[in-house]
Symmetry: C2
Subunit: 370 residues, 2 copies
């Protein structure tokens, strides 16, 4: 295993340009990881999948954009618990990034991703027959995933797309109009390639979970969608590939998303049902922390903008004035963490030295209550 990781390390630094694929390293490496196969193209993966079906094995699929963290691993663990085999895809999908969005700054970490998956397979194999294992990594090139036109990042650009509206226009879709078109398009392709018995998505991206469930239903896709609870740090911060850009100062302030949502969830649990009561609790946390930060000097503070705080129906994502206790609701929020204005010598400013703006999202499900 370590030989593979070392073997690809020298190449991966060159793979950071916009066009190079995160996983291009895999193509150059002669060695395969010891416990799973890496596939760069479709036909061989289909062959393996066919063999699994013929042998009555079940397969759970976990699509990722790499930069794997404990959140992804929790999806894979759940997939291994429910299936004999797990396929993981690692592909940074260009069509879900807008023209001015952070495709180029999205972390590409092939070496450590493979290492984490190898370690996880060791952990899974130690559990014996009661759990499955990762069998295949699918790390395609963009030419494989977008074989004809270069994919458009313009909302009215040409291409072959799956669109799910109005769901894709709400919440995250307001500031990121092409995002969910990119997600549904790439997921349809990945599902067609892997034909999974079950697919696994994290609760963290709640709108994505709602849209994928809708896509599977509307397009009669023969798979089950499993949603796995958000993995959080001890203090509550939701894990995200983007957290590596935060650094210590913005990380501390970034916890405000969780605190604001917790305050709102508390209000709901205490019997509040109106939008003003529930979202008011969240907003007052967000506003208080921001004023505290603004009172600090530029070398001490971390500023942010609240993009939205939403209280919505769990299936349609329509904004609610009043929560129906029988149905519950989705509470969700997005903050834009601004770049640090001034940094201090020796300060942990995260990948990109605190200059990268970081958009954080989080959510909580308000469960039905009587």
């Amino acid at each position: 295993m370590s030989r593979l990781v070392n073997g690809v390390k020298s190449f991966s630094t060159a793979a950071s340009s916009l066009l190079a694929d995160a996983s291009a390293a895999a193509a150059r490496s002669v060695r395969q990881p010891s416990s799973f196969q890496v596939f760069r193209d479709v036909p061989e993966l289909r062959q393996l999948r066919r063999k699994l079906i013929q042998n009555d094995r079940t397969m759970g699929f976990v699509p990722t954009m790499g930069a794997l963290h404990e959140g992804h691993l929790s999806l894979i663990r759940e997939a291994a618990r429910e299936n004999t085999d797990v396929f993981v895809s690692i592909y940074v999908n260009p069509t879900q990034f807008g023209v001015n969005e952070d495709l180029s700054s999205y972390p590409r970490t092939w070496d450590s991703d493979v290492e984490k998956l190898e370690k996880l397979n060791e952990e899974l194999s130690s559990l014996g027959a009661c759990t499955g294992q990762i069998t295949a990594i699918f790390a395609p090139t963009s030419k494989v995933m977008y074989p004809t036109l270069p994919p458009s990042s313009e909302i009215d650009g040409h291409g072959s797309f799956v669109t799910i509206t109005p769901l894709a226009r709400k919440l995250e879709g307001v500031s990121r109009p092409v995002f969910f078109r990119g997600v549904t398009t790439i997921c349809m392709k990945l599902f067609n390639v892997t034909t999974p018995d079950r697919v696994y998505f994290g609760q963290k991206d709640v709108q994505q979970t709602v849209i994928i469930k809708r896509m599977v239903k509307d397009f009669l896709i023969d798979t089950e969608v499993r949603i796995v609870p958000t993995t959080r740090e001890a203090d509550g911060l939701a894990l995200s590939s983007r957290n590596v850009y935060l650094g210590a100062r913005r990380r501390a302030v970034g916890l405000t998303l969780y605190q604001a949502l917790s305050a709102a969830a508390e209000a709901y649990k205490a019997g509040k049902a109106s939008r003003d009561d529930i979202l008011g609790a969240a907003r007052s946390v967000a506003e208080r922390v921001l004023s505290e930060q603004q009172a600090l000097s530029p070398s001490e503070r971390a500023l942010y903008e609240v993009d939205y705080i939403s209280l919505a129906d769990p299936e349609s994502l329509e904004e609610l004035d009043l929560v129906d206790f029988k149905k519950g609701a989705v509470l969700s929020t997005a903050f834009k963490m601004a770049p640090l204005e001034e940094t201090n010598p020796g300060e942990d400013c995260g990948l990109g030295d605190g200059k990268v703006p970081v958009r954080l999202i989080d959510n909580m499900i308000l469960q039905p209550q009587s």
Copy 2:
């Protein structure tokens, strides 16, 4: 077999309303046809499909909107030649009809469709082991195919869609902006339900063949697209479900599409490569026939409008000024046959008494030549 056909006949006349499905009759019928099963929903069909896969049988899929004619049968014969099993879907897809288009006037002919398929299976079984047979008819309800939102027929309406642009905007897409969105959306669903080894489409709808091939490629769908030559009457008229609306007078004049295309194809074969030379030959036929008709009295003539005559690249469908002899081209045309202005006692005016406007399309492939 005849009992089934009779058994459903009494119901099918009531099924002509916009909302009733063409195949609703199948749901009421207790009997199954003798040589294939009719499926109204997905799970049982998937079970059959799984059994076929386990037994190493291959399946060819022929999607139709019913109103079967010899053209459809030629698709099924080809599918039976190449596969052990053939699935045929019969579903009049609402999303490929525009708001003001002819969904309500599209023929619904369940009884005779089933009869034709039964007869075809007899023919196929007489050929013995060298050909497959129709195993399943999939005749779903709209609730099965569109389980959440009622499908929109507005170009900017909401829903879950597959879009393939710019291909879908050209030729037929100009006058029918939602048409190919509807076709690709329903075909993606049908392919997900049936997971065919091969799918069969007629050359008659040339733009559809180009778009489906593109969809299968771009979405990495695990199937092969087969295109079957256009079936024509002895005089050259391309078979179409809509021909039943023509009646004798408009049918005779409708042959002009074929004659115009033939004149253009002759010019190409004679060595012409320029747009003006090739399309000029087609246009002069279309114009001559129209003037001849205009000179006749309203009770004798059939008028039409030429929607387009196109000379386009075989893959991108971009209009060509000059044909590259190495690549060839697609020659295609659409005519709108106007309703008859005056009819005569006892005249064969077709279904709808000559009052239904009929849009006819036809095409020829200009093969590469040296």
